[in-house]
């Protein structure tokens, strides 16, 4: 008789084995076919930092780059194992990072307190050190953080343009701040599974998104011109005793900034240690009274609306009842002079009369057309817009003061932009310092706006440049701005500094703004006239916080202008429009006058 339990005795073990097999199979499937990144034990998700974009100068020369940096932190709890005693690990750490073993021992002895499991050891960008510190056969208990070190290859040069990044890698000033979102890039992501030793199971990676590096920002600044500008400015400040200064070199045709220097400057790597005086970019964020440099704009406005011509004569008598409180001249003038002579000799009285006759409304409109009273929109943060009150708020005295550059404040970039319009036959272009921004694939992500505005008529601009050439000729206020072989159309400015509504005695801001070549020097050939084109506009300003002997624009800023312009013309290869002034052979005198540059 078949036992009724015979089937049970057979099937029960079979069922048990089947159940065990199903359990093992399910485990196999879950671990091999459907890995879970949400597993607390083995799943992980990490973010991959994107490399910050590079900032390049004209021609693609990098000036700011990020390089990898590793930060090592000690976790005393994880140091040592059965096969590797703590003392051996400490010895290895100390020798690899070149730090005293006692220091490591003190850190390893900490077992409480905030941050005791993540104590800072050192930072290093050395790959050999990284390889040694991540070798688990030698070192345990050290966490490695991937960071980036921002390196500024030109040191302090271009500091105000480039700016700086803070400890979190976020731009805090300059181009670093203005283009931070483009430079930062997009971080990547990895999600996957780790084994019991903490090593990633590579074929079980679920998500792998590579980081997108930041855009490459190319500036219009030429690194050699920038170096020359900074060197000339430093020389001028030391030579003439100025506390600060600024200098801009701008291309005439495009209003691209070829050099922008502001002194004192700072070290971008140690921005936190810079004083307030170092941090301010005086080329864009400093309002100052331009002084006589404004007279060129006044003359342009008056000629453009037909009120005067360069030959119109004016009396230099200040006590003219037709005018209200005319400014006095800083030196003796002939009884009558033309508008051209007033520019050449910088007569405050005559220019005050011209501005008075022009009227506040037309003067104000002309200043607005030249870009004063508004930001230029240059791609640098912190730009000031100057101080230009609406003409209805001008008092009667301002009618003759604004035309000579008082009762109005401008920034250096506005002033250069206005002179660029005069150099460019009356067409004012949009000042810019960034040529383009490109992503990692070479696609352009930013281009400067190509805006243009008409400030004055072309004939007016040419007439004004013709008048300005006389400033650097014999009898003018800026003979020291003459550059051999080139005609210069420029204007000096020596503005008294004001505080609390009162002009301070003996304190000045000396400026010289010049267009070189002037574009109005002609020569005849084959019965036809030929002109050269203006190449660059250069503004040099020196700020004196104490009385100095050579505080006038013609004595100080003009000299700095000459040194810089000489170099700029030769560096840019601009054809001289007065070749007769150049000696047939290269002379030592020409070399000595130049700055000792490349």
């Amino acid at each position: 008789m078949a036992s009724r339990f015979e089937g049970v005795r057979f099937w029960l073990p079979v069922a048990a084995m089947a159940a065990f097999g199903i359990y093992v199979g399910q485990k196999l499937v879950s671990s091999h076919v459907r890995p879970s990144v949400n597993s607390i034990s083995y799943g992980f998700s990490s973010e991959l930092a994107a490399r910050r974009g590079t900032i390049c100068c004209k021609g693609g020369r990098p000036v700011a780059e990020s390089t990898p940096l590793w930060r090592y932190s000690l976790d005393p709890r994880s140091m040592g194992s059965k096969s590797m005693p703590r003392e051996v690990v400490m010895e290895n750490i100390a020798s690899t990072l070149s730090i005293p073993k006692e220091k490591v021992a003190v850190m390893a002895a900490r077992t409480s307190g905030p941050g005791w499991r993540h104590q800072f050891l050192a930072e290093s960008d050395d790959q050999a050190v990284f390889a040694a510190m991540t070798d688990r056969r030698r070192i345990l208990g050290v966490a490695v953080d991937d960071l980036q070190r921002r390196r500024y290859l030109c040191g302090r040069s271009l500091s105000h343009v480039l700016g700086s990044v803070n400890a979190e890698g976020v731009g805090s000033c300059g181009i670093e701040q203005r283009f931070n979102s483009r430079l930062a890039g997009t971080p990547g992501k990895i999600e996957g599974i780790k084994d019991a030793y903490g090593n990633e199971i590579r074929d079980r990676r679920v998500t792998s998104v590579p980081p997108t590096p930041g855009d490459t920002v190319t500036l219009t600044v030429d690194v050699n011109l920038q170096y020359a500008a900074e060197k000339a400015l430093k020389w001028g400040m030391a030579e003439f005793g100025a506390e600060s200064g600024w200098c801009i070199v701008m291309d005439v045709g495009t209003a691209a900034v070829l050099a922008l220097a502001s002194m004192p400057d700072f070290d971008p790597v140690q921005y936190g240690r810079a004083t307030d005086a170092m941090k301010i970019d005086r080329a864009i964020a400093y309002n100052f009274e331009p002084g006589s440099v404004m007279k060129t704009i006044t003359a342009a406005a008056a000629i453009d609306c037909g009120r005067v011509t360069p030959e119109t004569m004016y009396s230099t008598d200040r006590n003219d009842d037709r005018y209200y409180r005319l400014p006095h001249d800083s030196h003796a003038m002939p009884p009558r002079m033309s508008v051209k002579e007033a520019i050449v000799h910088s007569s405050n009285t005559v220019m005050g009369k011209i501005g008075y006759d022009l009227g506040p409304e037309r003067m104000y409109d002309a200043l607005k057309r030249f870009g004063f009273g508004a930001k230029t929109g240059i791609e640098l943060p912190g730009e000031e817009c100057g101080i230009l009150w609406h003409w209805k708020k001008w008092d009667k005295a301002s009618w003759s003061r604004v035309p000579i550059g008082q009762a109005v404040s401008v920034t250096a970039i506005q002033l250069v932009g206005a002179y660029q319009a005069i150099a460019n036959d009356g067409v004012r272009m949009h000042p810019h310092i960034v040529e383009k921004a490109e992503d990692a694939d070479g696609r352009t992500t930013y281009m400067p706006q190509d805006a243009a505005a008409v400030a004055v008529k072309p004939e007016t601009a040419r007439k004004v440049r013709q008048m300005m050439v006389g400033v650097s000729e014999m009898g003018g206020t800026a003979r020291r701005a003459r550059v051999k072989g080139y005609s210069v159309a420029g204007k000096t400015g020596t503005a008294q500094k004001a505080k609390d509504g009162v002009y301070l005695q003996g304190l000045y801001c000396a400026s010289y703004c010049g267009i070189i070549p002037s574009g109005v020097v002609q020569f005849d050939m084959d019965g036809k006239r030929h002109f050269t084109d203006p190449s660059v506009v250069i503004l040099v300003s020196l700020d004196f916080d104490h009385f100095a002997t050579f505080h006038q624009g013609g004595n100080s800023s003009a000299v700095v202008f000459r040194k810089l312009a000489q170099y700029a013309m030769r560096y840019l290869g601009v054809t001289p429009d007065r070749p007769d002034e150049l000696s047939p052979e290269a002379s030592a005198e020409d070399e000595v006058e130049l700055l000792p540059l490349l």
């Binding site: 078949a2 015979e6 089937g7 057979f10 079979v14 097999g21 199979g25 196999l28 091999h32 490399r51 020369r61 990098p62 780059e65 390089t67 990898p68 960008d125 790959q127 390196r151 290859l153 030109c154 040191g155 040069s157 990633e200 199971i201 590579r202 074929d203 690194v223 050699n224 920038q226 170096y227 020359a228 045709g253 036959d425 072989g485 020569f523 050939m525 084959d526 036809k528 030929h530 050269t532 084109d533 170099y567 013309m569 030769r570 560096y571 290869g573 054809t575 001289p576 429009d577 070749p579 150049l582 047939p584 290269a586 020409d590 070399e591 130049l594 000792p596 540059l597 490349l598």
Partner: protein, 138 residues
């Protein structure tokens, strides 16, 4: 002698057939499991190799980046100026008369304004039927 019981219980017979099927399936599963393990092992080895090569590539990229940065930092104007003065080389940019420019037609310009205008005029005549004044540069 006891007679051999040739009777086979129904359950045992049925179980015998089923056991063959089950055994076959188990063997098949075993073979598949072994194949799976071998494939996984191969994948793991490949992935480890890929991981190793990726790390090596990342390391080389970092090295390349560091070297490019180092190179770029070597020829900044201030460093070049220091090196030139250290070697007693008083170099400067060329004088205008030392600069020769070439026109599109391969004609050399000297720095004389008259020569440039003359060369431009010749090129203009060659390009067009009538001579025009040089266009304004923008």
């Amino acid at each position: 002698m006891r007679r051999k019981n040739r009777k086979v219980s129904a359950n045992t017979a049925a179980a015998g057939e089923h056991a063959a099927w089950i055994g076959g399936l188990v063997v098949l599963a075993g073979i598949m499991a072994i194949v799976n393990v071998l494939a996984n092992t191969t994948c793991n080895q490949l992935m480890a190799s890929i991981d190793k090569k990726e790390k090596a590539l990342a390391k080389l990229k970092v090295q390349c980046q560091n070297e490019n940065t180092r190179l770029a930092s070597l020829y900044t104007p201030d460093k070049l100026s220091i090196e030139l003065s250290r070697r007693g080389m008083a170099m400067n940019v060329m004088q205008p008369r030392q600069l020769i420019k070439m026109s599109r037609s391969g004609r050399p310009y000297s720095v004389s304004q008259a020569d440039i205008a003359r060369a431009r005029a010749v090129d203009e005549r060659a390009a067009t039927s009538s001579y025009r004044a040089p266009a304004r540069r923008r």
